[in-house]
Symmetry: C2
Subunit: 193 residues, 2 copies
DNA sequence: TTCATTTCTTGCCATTTGGCAAGTGCTTTT
DNA sequence: AAAAGCACTTGCCAAATGGCAAGAAATGAA
C-alpha cells in the first residue's frame, strides 16, 4: 500500500511544502491490523501515532460497572492516537481496537517529536490534529446534552454510515449513550420513515 | 496583582527553568473583567489566551432551539482559551463570560506563537494545555453516558463547590445536561442525605 | 422600605429511556 | 443436520427526566 493517502492528509492539514511532506512521510512505517487486534491497550503507555489508511477502529473504556463504553470511532483517512497517554507518557485508560482489517502507517513518539522540533510547519499539523479532536469531543458532548437519542442516531448514520455496516449494535449504542435495546427500537422507528 | 500565580502555573506544567518562565510571563498583560463581561463572543475570532488568576468564568453556546447551553466552567488558576477559534483563526461558536469579577493575564496569538517558536519547553506547555482540555472533555462525555444526573451533580459540587456559590442554577443545569427543574429536584433529594 | 423582576421550587402529568426476559434468526461448531 | 452461541428484537413495566404553570424566595431598583 502506498503512502499517498498519508502524504495527502498531511498536506491538507498543514502549511508544509510537498517536499517537506515527503520527508515527513518517510518516517512513518507501514502497519497492519487483523480484525480485533489492538492498537492500544488500557494500562499500557501509547507510543505510536497512527495514520489509518484503510479500515475502521474503535476506542472504548469501561464504566464503573465494568460495561464497555465506546468512546470513539476512527474511520479511514484519519490520525489515530490517544492524546493523553501518547503526549504525556501516562498509562492509557482506553483501548483502541481494529473493527475490520486495518492498514496504515505509524510513527513513534520520539520520531514525531523530533520532526515537530525540526519542522515548524509540521508542528502546526500536530497542533491541528489535537484541536480537531478537541472540537469533535465538544460537539459530541453538546449533542449528548441537547439532542435526543434518535437525533444522535440520525447524525451518526448520516455522517458515518460505514459504522453501521461493521460494528455491533451494542457498541454503537454505548457510543450514542443509550442501551442496545433502545437503539434497536430507534432503528425500528427510523426505518418506518 | 502580581504575576506569581501565572509563573507558578507555567512552572508546574512545563519543563522550563525558572528563568525562562520569568521571561515568558513578561509577555502577558494584566487584564480585568467586570461581572458579565465577555472574554470571547461568538462570531468573533479569539485572539487572546488568558490565565485566570481570580474569579470564575463560563463558556456557553446555543442549542438548535436557541437555548443557552453551558459548555464549561473555568475556575481560578486555569488557562482560558477556545482552542478551535484561537488556534485556527476561525469564528468562534462559543461565548466565554465572566461570572464574577475576574483578574488575569492575557497574551496574543502572535506573541504566544513567537514564544512557542523560540522556546521548546514552552511548546510543551502549550501542548499540555490542549491535552488537558481534551482529557477533561472526554471524561465529561463519558460521565454523560455512564452516570445519572444526580451522580454528575455530586461530582461537580465535590470538585467545584465554588460554582454553586456564584452561578445560576439554569446554567449549571445545562452544563450537567438536565433542566433547571430537574436540578432543583436533585438538590432537594441531595440535601436530605 | 416597598415594588418589580428574576430565580428557584414544586405539583401534576407526559415523554424518553432503561431493565429484564423471552423469542427470533443467523452463524459456527462438531 | 443438530446443537450451541451470538446478535438483535420485542413486550411489559419501571425509573429518570422533562414541560408547564403556579407559587415562594431572593434580588435589585426606586
Amino acid at each position: 500500500m502506498s503512502k499517498e493517502a498519508l502524504r495527502n492528509y498531511i498536506q491538507q492539514n498543514s502549511p508544509a511544502s510537498r517536499l517537506i511532506v515527503e520527508t515527513i512521510a518517510e518516517h512513518f512505517e507501514p502497519r497492519e491490523f487483523s480484525k480485533n487486534d489492538f492498537f492500544l491497550k488500557e494500562g499500557k503507555i501509547s507510543n505510536d501515532y497512527l495514520f489509518l489508511a484503510e479500515g475502521l477502529m474503535r476506542a472504548f473504556s469501561y464504566d464503573t460497572n465494568g460495561n464497555e463504553v465506546t468512546t470513539y470511532f476512527y474511520p479511514e483517512n484519519r490520525m489515530v492516537f490517544e492524546a493523553a497517554s501518547f503526549f504525556t507518557h501516562t498509562i492509557s485508560a482506553e483501548n483502541i481496537q481494529a473493527i475490520t482489517v486495518c492498514k496504515g502507517f505509524t510513527i513513534t513518539f520520539e520520531k514525531l517529536n523530533m520532526l515537530f522540533h525540526s519542522i515548524p510547519e509540521f508542528r502546526e499539523f500536530g497542533r491541528f490534529m489535537l484541536v480537531k479532536g478537541f472540537v469533535e469531543f465538544k460537539q459530541r458532548t453538546l449533542a449528548l446534552i441537547t439532542k435526543r437519542a434518535e437525533e444522535r442516531y440520525e447524525d451518526l448514520i448520516t455522517s458515518n454510515p460505514e459504522i453501521f455496516q461493521y460494528v455491533q449494535l451494542k457498541h454503537i449504542a454505548s457510543y450514542l449513550g443509550i442501551t442496545d435495546t433502545s437503539l434497536s427500537r430507534i432503528r425500528k422507528e427510523f426505518s418506518k420513515k
